[in-house]
Amino acid sequence: MTKSELIAALVAENPHLRQPDIELIVATIFDEITAALARGDRVELRGFGAFSAKQRDPRTGRNPRTGAAVPVAAKAVPYFKPGKELRERVNGEASAATGPTAS
């Protein structure tokens, strides 16, 4: 599924909304997540997952062709940790969304 397919599905599901509004909604969601990570914040969506940015230390890399050492600067890498419910659903386990209350 691509972003445009996601938008098309939402447009069909919400006939009372204009397509440009749906597009703005989808863009806002993903933009806010990216902006939060850029600020160093994390985003936690229960049942779905959590986005965070992991800091990587500077290191010395190597040009694989010449073998020359090249300094690699410190950087932040976006990371997504799937939530329990989504992880189980992807793995084909029966989701107990409204099931027994065992914890």
Binding site: L6, L10, I25, F30, P58
Partner: protein
């Protein structure tokens, strides 16, 4: 470090799009639901300028209980991975916490 939740994202939709607060959070839920459904069906979800959610099939391997040392088989399973887009990586590093100005 702050943690954003559904409430923050719904608030952003409310201010950006001008829907009611209720409808803003309902739409956020729809988006997450659609993405989850596709992934549960094994389909990859590709959001341009954001990243790709991929379902990967892992084979069986032998694991070990770290406490007891007992070998246990880890069954084949499907795992969800996220590959951030170049655009997202650049944005996160563009305005990331200030680095030292001193030359190393």
């Amino acid at each position: 470090m702050n943690t954003l939740t559904r409430a923050n994202l719904a608030e952003a939709i409310y201010t950006q799009v001008g829907l009611s607060r209720n409808e803003s959070s309902a739409l956020l839920e729809s988006v997450l639901h659609r993405v989850s459904e596709a992934l549960a069906g094994g389909e990859a979800v590709k959001i341009a300028a954001f990243g790709t959610f991929l379902v990967r099939q892992k084979g069986q391997r032998i694991g070990r209980n770290p406490k007891t040392g007992v070998e246990v088989p880890i069954l084949p399973r499907k795992v969800l991975t996220f590959r951030p887009s170049q655009v997202m990586k650049a944005r996160i590093n563009g305005a990331s916490p200030p680095l030292d100005d001193d030359a190393a």
